[in-house]
Symmetry: D2
Subunit: 281 residues, 4 copies
């Protein structure tokens, strides 16, 4: 017994313009793409401050960093917890960048909402309906990642859980789906961005880091997502990717991120071939 | 940085016999398969009592029934909540069958543990690590379903999260994976049962209801899972599947369940052909 | 513009009994399961004769063996070609077992049909429509494997291509689908056997060798497929799997195959636990 | 027993520049992207001539059109056969565009090679090794589509089959993979283009028509593939998509194709938002 209007609140009405979501002073879904950047995990004061300054300098709009990490094994680094939140807050103070960080437990909502400007629901929790309902009752914007095997319909209904509880500020993030033989860590499903934007008025950004799992593919995939019309990107950037505590292969260093930002914004259109993409270099 | 012994506690040591998990007076993982049966959701006192008596009569060992339902849409029936728990408890009193029910929220652990004999983690929450950690701190057995796209390794590491916190009583349940072109609702991955039992000492049962999504396929798939060596089955049974509040197509009625149980236990081996399976009829 | 009766010839009419296909003196689809066994590839006279005698002794009904091998790399062993066909024919003469072998090229049809009793279309050629049409014009039975990513509908329509050209003798074979996280080499989709038998009157057998890719899983998966109601099995058996020219990990040796056949036919029903399967040991 | 240099001929050596493949007067893999366009199937003289003139006018470099169609059902339109080849040849004469068309049968190689400038191996035949070997013995360039479930490694080894027989002129085409929950008909795996270009020196183009299956998604997906660095595109264009004999939903009409070509080449870089893509409009 399914409701005849399955996405009562998330659904884009005919001719409805896309909703712009505000995160602090930053807009997502407007006339400019929004770039979220920062390390996979907050590891130390030095690391997060260095990353925050670097991504700000290159033009990023928001800072990301995990304080509570959803790790496949209980024996892997689980994040710094509240200390990580404090360090993120310090980095915001130092750079002015609003902060987005992942929430794993319903019981941490108040704590995280105190420190962060936007709360991220990770791919594994996309259908943690109990968490979604509670996030619908706070007044912070939510970044909702698509599950690695979720249909677009299921993803939009997960957003609907949040909207339905009264929080209208949801940004969707496509981060790749698991496939039998796709190249890389996950397969970035760009058509899902098109479908989500057709069906739903919320902004949709892309995650080229988790989808590819390889730092050298992040730039061309970012160009592709932008050319397609994504509302922004979330990119992992670390001072020293080889020695990061997680996601070593996919984090960009500062110089790589700076090149990527230059590619996205500054260069005139040409057709210079593979290394840079036809339309972007 | 992954631990060299990824499944420190879940791992089957050479020649280790399988662990037997006790749920009330019932064993899972021993010399007899264990059959868990009951409706998708608890809907009313009459419904759950009728189902409990019927599955008991046919030989089931445990009663299942959802009080908190993880539904794709917020507009679908979400379960009776605590009332559902009370009705399950009444059904246990009436039949003597221990009760297993799904938990969706960390905040419900104490409440559900008060009423139920075993707590089920559904497929969507297999990597809700915060929930897994808290379930590792209670003294009730846990039924851990495999995520619809999880590898066997990820599934065993999810179990490891529970064991690591001190709760050794975990039963694994294979319920089908999502595939591009597999027949039915999900594809029951029987080889995953073989792999899980090779790598891990915990019992592994199969769910022929959610995997096939079709009531007429539940019997042959149950026979297959038993012939393969699964430690048991969890089967959806409802007094009136056509009018159930969820999972209408896959629930068995009482007569179908009774036939299935007869097939599994009572008939001598023959080779009577397709309708009953070569080895089971 | 799809035909309203998509499987005009393959479709099972209401109450239609399954079609029995004859291969030499052997029936597939009747009251007894049919077991096809033999090496992945014909490698030498000694090898194929030894294998033929061994599988015959254990009760197999047909001999399999590849003379033309579809290998992922052009640098891998491509089969003995016509010599392989001759050796298969010798093995048939020595044992009385009819012979099935794979066809890769339309241009080999007459040659292979001269030597073999049944021609196999491999998974990679399931939608080689040009080959299917030509196989519809000969009078030998065809063993049609399901593609590793084909839907049941596509599989039945591939059979329809053969039937439509006038050859009614097609046996379907489920050999596993490719999935993102399924255990083993491919995921045996047993529900596809149920769906194919519901929709279509042709016999359907299972391939536990290619689906699992592990010799130790072939026995329990064979028991599962038989318990479900498959019309037979095709199993790779080699005198010395470790030194085979292909598929080393999944071929059974003679002793393992003999145990499997004993398990399928000779033992009384019991519930002796995992090692043998509840219904089969 | 796999060769230690699995892609002996296809493999990109360190610092090797990409190979440029010539099709008539057209280059694929050079400094400019190559656009192949035309209808799914050749249906009539009027249709193919109109399409050829239209795509030429908008800037396409090659004409595509199917004379032999690989259809899932034997009852669907199978193509005009040799008549279709003649009409393609007429269209080339009228427009100067070289012609690419699909080959389904080894027995048609000489016939098709007489009419066409490039022969296409469709996704279903990517591992039709017998066909690949014979195509390695002719002197026409080959367009090799990736199978809907093939790994990049398998795809490159399929190319190796052609190269190994002596034909060095192979262009790879990514056309989408089948996934459980990807949006659209298939999931365009753009990372596979990156991986193929890293491992292999051959040009790689993208097919936004078959991957998305929806005409309105062809433009943004084309922009994405170009921004990523694909060497070209193959796009279905039909005078009247609604009345085409196949692929009605995904073919562009002439006006849509003209807009797409304008988007790819003519517009200055801006960030005008979703409708046109950030980098492309």
């Amino acid at each position: 017994m399914t409701n005849p209007l399955p996405y009562l609140l998330a659904q884009r009405k005919p001719d409805q313009v896309g909703t712009v979501i505000r995160v602090g002073s930053v807009s997502i879904g407007g006339q400019q793409p929004t770039i979220i950047a920062g390390p996979c995990a907050v590891e130390s004061k030095e690391q997060i401050l260095a990353a925050a300054h670097a991504v700000k300098r290159s033009g990023a709009n928001l800072l990301r960093g995990g304080a509570y990490k959803p790790r496949t094994s209980p024996y892997d680094f689980q994040g710094l917890g509240e200390l990580g939140l404090k360090l993120l807050s310090d980095a915001r103070e130092a750079t002015g960048l609003p902060v987005v960080t992942e929430i794993l437990s319903e019981q941490d909502i108040n704590l995280i909402a105190e420190y962060a400007d936007m709360l991220q629901v990770g791919a594994r929790n996309m259908q943690n309906f109990s968490l979604l309902k509670k996030l619908g009752q706070i007044d912070k914007p939510i970044l909702l990642k698509r599950g690695p095997n979720a249909s677009v319909k299921e993803w939009l209904l997960a957003a609907e859980y949040i909207l339905h509880q009264g929080n209208p500020n949801v940004v969707l993030c496509e981060r790749g789906i698991r496939t039998a033989n796709g190249a890389g860590r996950n397969t970035l499903d760009l058509a899902a961005i098109l479908e989500a934007k057709q069906l739903c008025h919320l902004p949709v950004i892309a995650d080229p880091s988790h989808s590819t799992g390889k730092s050298e593919w992040v730039m061309p995939m970012s160009c592709a997502a932008m050319a397609l019309g994504a509302d922004g990107l979330i990119i992992e950037v670390h001072p020293d990717p080889a020695n990061a505590k997680s996601d070593n292969d996919q984090q960009l260093d500062f110089s790589e991120f700076d090149s990527l930002m230059g590619k996205l914004y500054l260069k005139p259109l040409s057709t210079a071939g593979f290394a840079g993409g036809w339309g972007m270099d």
